[in-house]
Subunit: 567 residues, 2 copies
Amino acid sequence: MALKARALYDFNSENPGEISVKENEIVSLYSEQDIEGWLEGSNSKGERGLIPASYVEILKNDTAPTFNNNSTSGSRYANIPTGVTSPGFAAFSPPVPVQQQHGYQASQGSDEDWDEDWDDSSTVADEPGVVVGGNYQGDFDGNGPSTYRVSTSTSKSSNVQQAKSSATVSRNLNRFSTFVKSGGEAFVLGDAAGFVKDGDKICVVSGQYGPEWQENPYPFACTIDDPTKQTKFKGMKSYIAYKLTPTHTQTQVNRRYKHFDWLYARLVEKFPVISVPHIPEKQATGRFEEDFISKRRKGLIWWMNHMTSHPILSKCDVFQHFLTCNSTDEKSWKQGKRKAEKDEMVGANFFLTISTPSGPPLDLVEVESKIDGFKAFTKKMDDSVVQVNATTNEFARKQITGFKKEYQKVGQAFKGLGQAFELDQQTYSVGLNQAIAYTGEAYDAIGDYFAEQPRHDVDPLMDLLQLYQGHLANYPDIIHVQKGALTKVKESQKHVEEGKMDAPQADGVNERCNIISFATLAEIQHFHQVRVRDFKAQMQQYLTEQIGFFQKITGKLEEALQMYDNA
Amino acid sequence: MALKARALYDFNSENPGEISVKENEIVSLYSEQDIEGWLEGSNSKGERGLIPASYVEILKNDTAPTFNNNSTSGSRYANIPTGVTSPGFAAFSPPVPVQQQHGYQASQGSDEDWDEDWDDSSTVADEPGVVVGGNYQGDFDGNGPSTYRVSTSTSKSSNVQQAKSSATVSRNLNRFSTFVKSGGEAFVLGDAAGFVKDGDKICVVSGQYGPEWQENPYPFACTIDDPTKQTKFKGMKSYIAYKLTPTHTQTQVNRRYKHFDWLYARLVEKFPVISVPHIPEKQATGRFEEDFISKRRKGLIWWMNHMTSHPILSKCDVFQHFLTCNSTDEKSWKQGKRKAEKDEMVGANFFLTISTPSGPPLDLVEVESKIDGFKAFTKKMDDSVVQVNATTNEFARKQITGFKKEYQKVGQAFKGLGQAFELDQQTYSVGLNQAIAYTGEAYDAIGDYFAEQPRHDVDPLMDLLQLYQGHLANYPDIIHVQKGALTKVKESQKHVEEGKMDAPQADGVNERCNIISFATLAEIQHFHQVRVRDFKAQMQQYLTEQIGFFQKITGKLEEALQMYDNA
């Protein structure tokens, strides 16, 4: 505990695990190593907990500040489009260390890289060296199809793992940094600026249930047909292309997984309070090639369904470029790509494009209560999605292994009885022997039915759950952007009272927070609507499949029973 | 190996494990203790194996015969109704030690004992101190009904154990003694004698498939209604009485388990080559009283069904006395009881009552081939019945525990999802939330269906299997009686060639062996016919129950699906 640091600003803890410090307070640190921008230590009151790394400078033996040299006002926001001009607010927004920049920035290569990527990959999947494992393989006894539920064992690999990570909704160490990164802070502080074209306008309207995104007046859908292997350079290079056909153009385009990946990165960057559906996980190739491609396609269909259902995402330029640009016209593709990557209406500027319904601003207390309610909702939904996922996954595994085995053992036992009875040469027993043999086969078949069933009902359900786990993992960040804005409003009121800020400036903060609140509530409303739509459809499909399954079993047993009529 | 013995007669080994000895040959014995009438030792040729205990006298140090003093010709057959008059044949039929008399003799008490029994028992079941255990309790996890499949853990306890003991069909050390005990030997040797009344006549006829028992011209059935607690002596004594109503009298009589037990002992004693169905196992009382009584009743129904289906058993006096004697008329019951216990037409004399179809005698080679075929059949049927029993027992256990648990876990997961969704107060999601909650309940109910199902299909199947395991345990003895008779025929032919027997005497042996063969084949034919009838009916019932079960599940899921129509 020799490691000491000096607080550069006041920090008021807001969550369990955080500790408050005053400017110039000397704190003890357990380690110089930050955890996602936070340092562990104790303050002068002896309270132990987390302090934003950017709020302190570590005091080395020579007591000279050797850390956070770039954390002086102004320079430490270098990674944000606009500078911070209000030191009073900065105390609530520790900056993000540079190494924690958004993970998807890596996808934004140069055009040269892109061309390289486009042409140079001959693997079916786009990622090398990922170990393939089956979800059910825990105590897989070899009776089920070995290709079942292939997924990677790397980060975000299994649904359960992913769900667990998204289950930590209530404890997000990046609370502040999200607000900053997203541009939320810059926008609220009035530092976002850009020219908003009419086409960029995004409208929030007052709907039956509160703020809603204005519906896309030209709704469309997009099919994704079975992918095919494409070749280039006289067959020297090959890759898998998915055939996309949007209903509004009726023109098929070919897209590879990496194009989806690139698009996803653009969308995440552009829309700070919109939950962009996650694209299917990156997976390895291997001997399960067909299963893998089929599974990825299903994931992409779910993804596409959510994209085209979303009033804002469905209309945006980069998505339209992705859907409509001729796959073979590389020049026009590059132009659209460059334009998207140079889009100025991203992050903080996105909020500039939002127009709210006319009328009074939202009641902040009501907004906060709604957001808190939604936070509790996502937490509980996340828990139960994890539960349903784990349970149905285990249920599927049991059907593939145990259930199948039990029914087939019954089948074998009946077959054995039929064989024993065949030793009796009496003519009057021939019919019975055949009927018993058929009964044995029926139970054998029923065992197979059980093993085959999960791919018809559990798998689609799990695909849906996976998509929603992605959304649930997005929401903490979205909530934090809104919460950050609310905090700014409260602070501005305080500063006005203290005479540190004039009223018009505070009104501007209020107004801009109001925009963020409208957008967030509209997005939450959209989430609930598609959630109800999707889960209703999926539960209906699940039950319909289950009914068909038990009817198939009944049918098989009825066949067996009929055999005894002539026995 | 100091223990020596002298062979009293020639013995020619016929089965693996036996060794041959000549009269006066000195053999070494491993022990003075016989195993079911056999001694282990080695002959003068150094061959090791089994020798009938009654064929040797053990030579003690003083070389005086101190063992088998009663095994000299004439006196050693004291336990057989008639003396052995043909020493030449005796060599093939070692007598049975007295301690091995038929186990059911113990049931034949005096009238005083009977009255004592009749009046003095106040327990519900008739046997004390038997530990109760559940068939499925191996790794019973407490989810199933704890009263399930109660059975005793004593001898002949579990079906599997019983089946295993009956599975040792091919190696019966009592081969000879069964033949002797049953009276088969005495009859074949012409030593059975008695006055056969017309009413005692048992006819074997030539049927479509070979020898058959003549059908009972007055077939009847008998219902067993739910037993009631009866009291005597102003309520001081109580017992459980089963209400029997035979269709040919339409008069209800009350019978206790011990009456069934007494009757069973009479039947086994009387009919050497008829497979008397086993009565349900003796069981303990306990907190599962109702289940226990219900299970015993089901077993007695099966037993009764087989009794009334059998052309010979159904007609016999002791059974008719049991079915028709007024339960409250103790005097007339005692008379019938005494008469049955003094019946002379039992064992050897039973064969005197049999009349065979007119025409040529059976071809002995063909008979032997049929008997061998049936022996192989029973062996294989026994194996497969053990298998079906063990498999369905395990299948039932899995349904009660694992299957139930899996479906209810799915139900819980769906319920949890519905509860999470209820946190969202949107009016448009109420229907979905209710539908998901109902789906959860449906899977919960399906779990219960799985747990309840075995008592509707597996249990009746297992009851049938248990009855047949009893028959399969009877057949080795029946086969040995017939085989013993065949051996006598072969020996008589040899003795005629050797001039030790005259032709008319040998013809008599042939003729009497022919009667035993007719009876045995008639019994085998009857067995096949009821087997085909019973298994056909039971498999139909099983499948019908299974179909109903899966339809019930389907119905429940359809109800759940309909909930989404208004969601």
